[in-house]
């Protein structure tokens, strides 16, 4: 924090926010980007910085939405906040077709969240790659269109249904209808089902 002459005079000065406090480290961001890009791909410098800004905005957005959710609940319940973050992420990944869906809290969601986060180890690549090798069973309200003829080879790596499915595990929001279609092994969803459009 740099010294401000106005602060020395007693006037309230706005705190200086450092660059490293505003954004996630760019090296980490670039590393994650390269995982989904082909080997020959190049990234422009302004593109890297833009993604960096988007990540920070994403965190701010989720935080503010989650904070709104927990305000009316006067009870200082940490479980609820963790689950609220999951709800917000699930809401972000799915367009809201029916607002009442997210009012039905799935029982056991908090336990799943804690178990999932406890067993997640980011340094082991194999644990992560298992989420992207086979297509998961999408939630029941998803209808897949016929696959595009020009779908790129690495399309299966990450698709919106998989992202939202995975994030849906962190808090549900689907109500009790979704829990019946998942089979949980050690808190992690079972991705062994094959889905026809992915072949």
């Amino acid at each position: 924090m740099e010294l401000n002459p106005a602060a020395a005079a007693g006037a309230a000065a706005p705190p200086v926010v450092r660059e490293q406090d505003r954004f996630m480290p760019i090296a980490n961001v670039i590393r994650i980007m390269r995982r989904v890009l082909p080997a020959h791909a190049k990234i422009a410098d302004d593109a890297k910085e833009m993604i960096q800004e988007c990540v920070s905005e994403y965190i701010s957005f989720i935080t503010s939405e989650a904070n709104e959710r927990c305000q009316p609940r006067a009870a200082q319940d940490r479980h609820r906040r963790g689950r609220a973050v999951g709800h917000e992420q699930a809401r972000l990944r799915r367009p809201i077709s029916s607002p009442s869906r997210f009012l039905h809290h799935r029982p056991g969601a908090t336990a799943e969240l804690r178990h999932a986060t406890a067993s997640y180890r980011p340094d082991i690549p194999t644990a992560v790659s298992q989420f992207f090798t086979t297509a998961p069973v999408p939630p029941p309200n998803f209808v897949m269109p016929p696959p595009a003829t020009a779908a790129p080879q690495h399309h299966n790596l990450l698709s919106e249904s998989m992202v939202s499915y995975f994030l849906g595990m962190y808090g549900g929001g689907e109500g009790s209808s979704a829990s019946g279609s998942y089979s949980h092994v050690n808190g992690m969803p079972n991705f062994d089902h094959s889905y026809p459009p992915y072949k």
Binding site: A44, A47, M50, R78, R81, S97, A151, H155, E160
Partner: protein
């Protein structure tokens, strides 16, 4: 999270979930941006690719103020209720 003054207490599990969520967010946004770069037959991911991905994807509407371009410049005006032209978007069945 702490930068938000309204946030008082943060659960211990929140940063872990955020880390994973940000990772997936970066993957998703980069993937969609790369699709736009490929459409234009480029091998370099540029800022306008990211802008296009943000304007094309509904869930990225909260980022619309960050990108330099307006949404109208990227998408042609379509009648309301028309199916999305983005091949990567999906149909959601109302329940």
């Amino acid at each position: 999270m702490k930068a938000d003054e309204d946030v008082r207490m943060i659960a211990a599990e929140a940063p872990v979930v955020f880390a994973r969520a940000c990772e997936m967010f970066i993957l998703e946004l980069t993937h969609r941006s790369w699709a736009h770069a490929e459409e234009n037959k480029r091998r370099t991911l540029q800022k306008n690719d990211i802008a296009a991905a943000i304007s094309r994807t509904d869930v990225f509407d909260f980022l619309i103020d960050i990108v330099p371009r307006e949404e109208g410049k990227e998408d042609v005006a379509r009648p309301l209720g028309a199916p999305p032209t983005d091949p990567m978007s999906y149909y959601y069945v109302q329940q």
